[in-house]
Structure formats: structure tokens, C-alpha cells
């Protein structure tokens, strides 16, 4: 949709990227899924993971964020921030570094609420059970008793426009692929450098 898209910056919180009855294309790694939204709701801020104790000067194990997992046919749109002083590296999915530049993987720390108050740059989408994973980097000379992450977002239930199911609509999918009908593209994973 023209005014609904990922990474939208505005005053206040953030918009859903699609509304009831609108078409989306969920990209997961190299796959594309053409879907129609038939239900959506907001997800209030909640603690999606506590990575746990991180010893002084160490990096935690890479930990799946199981609470961001979505049901079949659904995707979530989330922005997030940590509330403990660690730098968080995101992997989406588990084996794929998110925000990977040529020389480093950009982390998120507590300063994100000052530097990017709407959390625009933290926005991620999660397709079904393909949730992200996180690592916490503790640069302090003391252990962190917990590393907790707060997420806020939207939940979208979708129906499949492809295949031969009840909601299949091959001509609409062809139009979406050709750009003849509006469709919001959603990236639900990272992408390898040079891929």
C-alpha cells in the first residue's frame, strides 16, 4: 500500500504494514509467499526474551527468541530494544547475521531509544516459526544479571493466494508479481553479504 510500508518513520509508534484484505509478499531468505491479510492486531510491548546472566567481558550463547515465533500462516512485525546494558547482535534466521556490514555486524544497545526513538531501524518481520536469535555482548567488568529485550509490534494472519487452496487466486498473484496490483513486500529474514 502506498502509505503502509516497512521502516516507516513518524511521530508516535508505528503503523501496521498492511490492513485487512490487503496483499503482501513475505520474503523469507530466497523464498516469496504471496498472501492476503485477513486479520491483524497490535502486540503491546512485552519482554520477549531474557538472555540471562552474561559473565563479565563475554558474549552469550546465540539464543533463539522463541517468544517471537508466529503461528502457521502468520507473520509478526516487531521493533525492539534492550533494557540491560549489553550490545545485542541479531541473527535472522539463526545462521544469518542481521545488519552485517562489510567490516562489522551492527549491534543494538540501550542507546537505541535515544538515537532512534521510534525504533525504526530495529524493525524485523517474523514469518511463521522462523524466529530470530540474539547474542548479548557484555563489555563490562562485572556480570550482567539479566539481558532482557522488549518487543512491540503487530500480528498478521494471512491466507495463501498461491497454490490450489481455498483462497488461491492465480490471476491476482500474476498481477502482484507484475506490479499491476498493490502489494506490500515484507522481509522476514536477513540476507547474506553478496547474496
Amino acid at each position: 500500500m502506498p502509505d503502509l510500508y516497512i521502516f516507516k518513520a513518524q511521530i508516535g509508534l508505528f503503523d501496521p504494514l498492511a490492513l485487512q484484505g490487503q496483499n503482501v509478499c513475505v520474503h523469507y531468505v530466497q523464498n516469496e509467499y504471496y498472501r492476503k491479510v485477513d486479520f491483524l492486531e497490535g502486540i503491546p510491548p512485552f519482554q520477549c526474551i531474557n538472555i540471562g546472566v552474561v559473565a563479565a567481558g563475554t558474549v552469550s550463547a546465540r539464543t533463539m527468541v522463541a517468544n517471537l515465533e508466529m503461528a502457521d500462516g502468520e507473520f509478526g512485525l516487531f521493533r525492539w530494544y534492550p533494557i540491560d546494558d549489553a550490545q545485542i547482535r541479531l541473527f535472522h534466521p539463526f545462521g544469518l547475521a542481521k545488519w552485517q556490514l562489510r567490516n562489522l555486524q551492527v549491534p543494538v544497545d540501550m542507546n537505541i531509544v535515544n538515537r532512534d526513538p521510534n525504533l525504526v531501524t530495529t524493525e524485523i518481520a517474523v514469518w511463521q516459526n522462523n524466529e530470530p536469535a540474539m547474542e548479548a555482548v557484555n563489555g563490562h567488568a562485572f556480570a550482567l544479571g539479566a539481558v532482557r529485550i522488549i518487543a512491540i509490534g503487530y500480528r498478521f494472519h494471512t491466507v495463501n493466494l498461491e497454490g490450489t487452496g481455498k483462497y488461491a487466486d492465480p490471476s491476482l498473484v500474476a498481477d502482484l508479481k507484475a506490479g499491476k496490483q498493490p502489494c506490500t513486500h515484507v522481509w522476514a529474514s536477513g540476507r547474506a553479504i553478496g547474496d
Partner: protein
């Protein structure tokens, strides 16, 4: 678009117990965060608050906050009063100087008549 505001991650350091006085016995009360190859960015700290817990009979004395130990000690703040058997807290509301340091923050009591003094600093991590 949100408004840009000052970066402020406020972190409390550990409580460090001093049973001996003098610059020769200065000890680290806050270590600059660093983890080679892992932590992104150069960090510094601004002293935001200093908490002193004077256990009698430590006596009325002063606590120095700075960098370095022994002969290398350099003060970041004026001497802070610590009163026998009392807790003292110095922060923005008492016009504590917000000194910035790129080195580990150290402290020592100027004198001790006995007892001990716990020192805890609260810092703003910048970077």
C-alpha cells in the same frame, strides 16, 4: 521522526570496600567497557553519582575519585566528604561535576580511623 536527545545509559558499578586509605591503595570502582573484537565503539564514562557508605569508626574523612592508582592517581572530582557512620550520596542534585573519563575510574579514602568505606559510582556510559 523522533527528537534527538542526549545519549544516556546509566550504569551502577560494583560496591568496592576500602579498609585502607591513601592513593597507594586506590582501587578501580568502574572499568571502562571493552571487549576486543566484540564490543562495538569506544566507550567513556561520565561520573553521574557517587555513593559513600561510611562504617564507623572510619571517622570523618574524604574520598577521592579519579583515575590511576598510587603515584599515577589523578583526581577527576574534588574531594568528597564522608562522615563517620553515615551514608552520603553525591549526584546532579548536589551539583556533582559530571567529569568524563576514558580510563578506569578509581577511588580511595584520604584517611581511615578504622572501619571501612564502601564506594559505588554510577556512570553514564557514552559511546
Amino acid at each position: 521522526m523522533g527528537l534527538l536527545v542526549a545519549d544516556r545509559i546509566i550504569v551502577r558499578g560494583p560496591i568496592v570496600n576500602f579498609i585502607v586509605a591513601g592513593a597507594a591503595n586506590a582501587a578501580v570502582v568502574f572499568t571502562i567497557p571493552v571487549l576486543a573484537g566484540q564490543l562495538i565503539g569506544t566507550k567513556s564514562v561520565k561520573i553521574h553519582r557517587v555513593n559513600l557508605y561510611n562504617t564507623a569508626p572510619a571517622g570523618n574523612t574524604q574520598v577521592m575519585i579519579g583515575t590511576g592508582v598510587a603515584g599515577a592517581f589523578a583526581a577527576l572530582l574534588p574531594a568528597l566528604d564522608s562522615f563517620n557512620g553515615l551514608n552520603d550520596s553525591y549526584g546532579p542534585e548536589t551539583d556533582l561535576i559530571e567529569a568524563e573519563s576514558f580510563l578506569n575510574v578509581t577511588a580511595y579514602p584520604v584517611a581511615l580511623a578504622g572501619g571501612s568505606i564502601d564506594v559505588q559510582v554510577e556512570v553514564i556510559v557514552v559511546g
